[in-house]
């Protein structure tokens, strides 16, 4: 498939904004959905809407098959050892909160330490902070190197006998650098500490093999990887999931319920309390099929590399611009930057009117903004359906916007 053919799978990309062609560069916030995902969603709502697992009737069986089929697809997508290690949630935030609570209740006590990095999205920071407050534990911060990359040696220096968890992003949603996760996991494991990887951005760009990474938890959201909103995944090693207590009670997560006490369902149901998002979860199947296909597609690879080369050169060579997250060998086509003398909000407003959708502000990473000494940044994040032509239009529009403002 050519990039043009891939674009044709996304009708929304042809929707003009303010009479101009849409150039959608806010993919790190949410990706657009290919028609196959939209169709899958629609078919489930129209043709197979019934609550999963319990009822014996035909529609319920269809809905359950679709839902559990998605679990198998996620298992192969991540190369998890068992389907029981895949828990469905509402998104990466819910996945991380689940671990922070259910792991934290069992394994974290007063005086213990949790390590997070400066570069985390609030969703991989605040749940741990809340856990620390609850338990009287301490949050330790792993700072990135000058490029913005997490450094195994720096992690090594932070680990000690009190450390109970390392929570890090596979790829920061601001810096767009692929962290050396496998090495970071190895270092943490050497100290006997489990690692949670926030894969919200990572899973979109990298081929993830959780057994190869050897991480203990891997979390991601469906909507950033072309699936329906309100879908999310938590991968967890069986030994941890078995040892953790349930996050929420009720619905499908029980085995027997008596007033004298309740026993819990086996994995993964133990962590799937209440009615699940059964109309949306199966959209992960066409979404992950698409993600796998484009990742290996030579035309997409070439186009993405050309976008990276083009935009990286411009943003690093232009004296008015400061790019955060440097070092091209680890960079994905996600660029956060500041423009001297121009506020990120003004730039985003003007670009919007030129048809270019970018993100401005703190991008749910206030501590990172403080670390970088900025009040906010402008972010352009590209997806496999974006073209070099769009990258050029974005750079031209950015130039024009800067000229208007400075």
């Amino acid at each position: 498939m050519t990039v043009t053919e891939i674009r044709a799978l996304f009708p929304i990309l042809d929707t003009p904004v303010y009479g101009k062609p849409l150039v959608y560069l806010d993919n790190a916030a949410t990706a657009q959905r290919p028609q196959a995902v939209v169709d899958c969603w629609k078919e489930l709502v129209e043709g197979a809407n019934a609550n999963i697992h319990r009822a014996v009737h035909h529609l319920a069986a269809q809905a359950t098959d679709a839902y559990e089929g998605a679990r198998n697809r996620v298992q192969t997508f991540l190369n998890a050892a068992a389907r029981e290690e895949i828990v469905f949630t509402s998104g990466a935030t819910a996945s991380i909160n689940l671990v922070a609570f259910s792991y934290g209740q069992v394994f974290v006590n007063q005086g213990d330490e949790i390590i997070v990095s400066t570069c985390e999205h609030h969703s991989n920071m605040v749940p741990w902070q809340m856990l620390c407050e609850r338990k009287g534990a301490k949050l330790r911060v792993l700072e990135p190197n000058r490029d913005g990359l997490l450094d195994p040696a720096a992690l090594s220096a932070l680990l000690n006998e009190h450390t109970k968890m390392v929570a890090i992003a596979h790829i920061s949603n601001v810096l767009g650098l692929v962290n050396p996760v496998k090495e970071l996991v190895r270092i943490a494991h050497k100290a006997g500490v489990p690692v949670l990887v926030d894969g919200s951005q990572g899973v979109v760009h990298e081929k993830v093999d959780v057994q190869d990474l050897d991480c203990d938890f891997y979390a991601f959201s469906g909507h950033k990887i072309y699936a329906a909103t309100g879908t999310g995944v938590l991968y967890g090693k069986r030994k941890w999931l078995e040892a953790m207590i349930p996050y929420m009670g009720g619905g499908e997560m029980i085995e027997t319920v008596r007033f004298s006490g309740t026993t819990y369902a086996p994995l993964p149901m133990k962590f799937e309390a209440g009615t699940q998002n059964f109309n949306a979860v199966p959209t992960l199947v066409p979404a992950l099929d698409f993600a796998d296909a484009v990742r290996e597609n030579p035309a997409v690879k070439a186009e993405q590399q050309a976008i990276l080369d083009k935009v990286y050169s411009k943003l690093t060579e232009d004296k008015r611009i400061t790019l955060y997250g440097t070092g091209k060998e680890n960079k994905i086509p996600l660029f956060s930057f500041a423009v001297k003398g121009a506020h990120h909000e003004d730039l985003a407003l003007i670009l919007d009117k030129m048809g270019v959708a970018v993100r401005s502000g703190q991008m749910c990473a206030e501590p990172l903004m403080d670390h970088l000494g900025v009040t906010g940044l402008l972010r352009a994040s590209f997806a496999p359906y974006n073209t070099v032509e769009e990258a050029n239009y974005f750079l031209k529009s950015l130039d024009k916007a800067i000229e208007m403002l400075v």
Binding site: H343, E345, L349, I350, D352, K353, G361, M404, L405
Partner: protein, 136 residues
């Protein structure tokens, strides 16, 4: 100029520009021309909550009329607040409190800002109104 005349003037000025980019240029010019805001007045209690950029607003009552001063670290926002205080500065608190701020919708400003920015505009208007209520 009366309050109504000032509003009419803004509506006329805005109607000169068809393209939104040109309207932004106009707001940028207004922003650049805004009277300097004393650094020492950039305090948290003068910050308007609900804006993506930082906006400070200060009001002083002289001879029964309110005079506004404002600033923002974003230039288009500065233009917008400049436009607002240009209309309402020098009016009585009673007149401001009773006003419906309808001219903002008439120039299409609210509809053409994204929801977070539209909220920012609403916050600016609310703050001006609140200052007027307090000044009565």
């Amino acid at each position: 100029m009366s309050l109504e005349e000032k509003k009419q003037q803004v509506i006329e000025d805005f109607s000169l520009y068809e393209e939104w980019l040109d309207k932004y240029e106009y707001l940028i010019e207004l922003g650049k021309g805004l009277e300097a805001f004393p650094e020492e007045k950039k305090t948290d209690d003068r910050l308007i909550k609900g804006c993506q950029s930082r906006v400070w607003l200060d009001a002083q009552l002289r001879d029964g009329r309110l005079y506004f001063q404002a600033d923002s670290d974003a230039i288009i926002t500065r233009g917008i607040i400049s436009l607002l205080i240009g209309v309402y500065s020098g009016e009585t608190p009673e007149a401001i409190a009773a006003d419906d701020f309808g001219f903002v919708s008439e120039i299409g400003l609210k509809d053409n800002l994204s929801p977070t920015r539209a909220n920012g505009l609403v916050s600016m208007i609310d703050t001006i109104k609140k200052l007027a209520e307090n000044g009565r």
